[in-house]
Symmetry: C2
Subunit: 196 residues, 2 copies
């Protein structure tokens, strides 16, 4: 019942992740009612991001420069590489201001159920970076079956090369109640206990 052009726009919004029929209609109407200036800015942002953003040839993180700011920086410790599943994890890590090493973005995890093997993630690119300068690889994949398996897989691959493989700690979050922690987290917290 909507005009054809509007119906097609609603369909496009419906295809986006997490957008249902109602939200798609609302978004389409919003975009229809935008001023020309705002609509151009919106479309321009989509085209600009798609044109300029690409993968850093070293760490595979997203960047709009030749190298990403981390790989290009002379202040970062080049003896450690922190391996993450995606670019969002790197943003989260950087926000802590606690880590000064390099990163490597896998863009996924090994998941045989989804037909994703080691050759489908940026693993070759990680291995090619392991020169004599690299002393440690921190495996910061998520604590899921696939994240754990991918971390184990990578650890097995790189240990023979004389590079230390470590895993980020899992346990009770800061401010979290032990009383309400789920069993898996609590088991990890006990397993990973440290002497005071």
């Amino acid at each position: 019942m909507y005009p054809e052009a509007l119906r097609l726009l609603i369909e496009e919004f419906e295809r986006l992740p997490g957008i249902g029929k109602k939200s798609a209609v609302r978004l389409a109407f919003h975009v229809m009612n935008m001023s020309d200036e705002k609509a151009e800015r919106f479309v321009g942002a989509v085209e600009n991001a798609r044109a300029k953003v690409h993968l850093c040839p070293v760490c595979q993180n997203l960047t709009d420069g030749e190298l990403c700011p981390v790989c290009a920086s002379e202040k970062r410790d080049r003896s450690v590489i922190c391996v993450t599943e995606g670019p969002k994890d790197i943003v989260a890590m950087e926000k802590t201001h606690e880590y000064n090493g390099l990163y490597h973005c896998l863009h996924g995890v090994i998941s045989p159920m989804d037909n994703i093997g080691p050759e489908d993630i940026k693993l070759k690119e990680l291995l090619s970076r392991l020169n004599e300068d690299v002393k440690e690889v921190i495996l910061a994949t998520n604590l899921t079956v696939e994240g754990e398996a991918t971390a184990m897989y990578i650890a097995k691959l790189i240990k023979p090369l004389g590079v230390k493989a470590t895993r980020i700690a899992h346990g009770i979050p800061v401010g979290g109640d032990i009383e309400f922690a789920d069993e898996v987290t609590l088991a990890r917290a006990i397993e990973g206990r440290r002497e005071l």
Copy 2:
């Protein structure tokens, strides 16, 4: 921490209604990872809808033709005009296949609190349509304070012109439990009772 172009795209998505920070990041990544073909289709749909869709000069509903399909149709009863707040209400009405008259889309309601007066909605356009053919105007604004007030306002304006003003019925929805109906709806249902 995201590349500038990606950050700007995330910001654009955040400006859309009902999209929070997390959804905006997810949408931006989705758009970044689209194939060229899909991205062109998305951007094209935005531009096409904005270029082609405009208001029907008669009923003010959205259309991509000269007149909207309802106003252009020779099969519609031109003696009744159903007045709605927005184009979405017209789509809902049409889905019932129960109504065969014309429409008029106000694009809003009178709301002094939001500084929206009678001159800010498509009311002049409605009055200019009230020729001798029009026998009845059905006021189908929502059952809100503003919707009710707008319906009353329009009814007062058109009655002296010899046009019947009616209001859609409010009551218990079909399939709804009287037990769980809110008081306002139930009061309306009693008030609007009909003899069997």
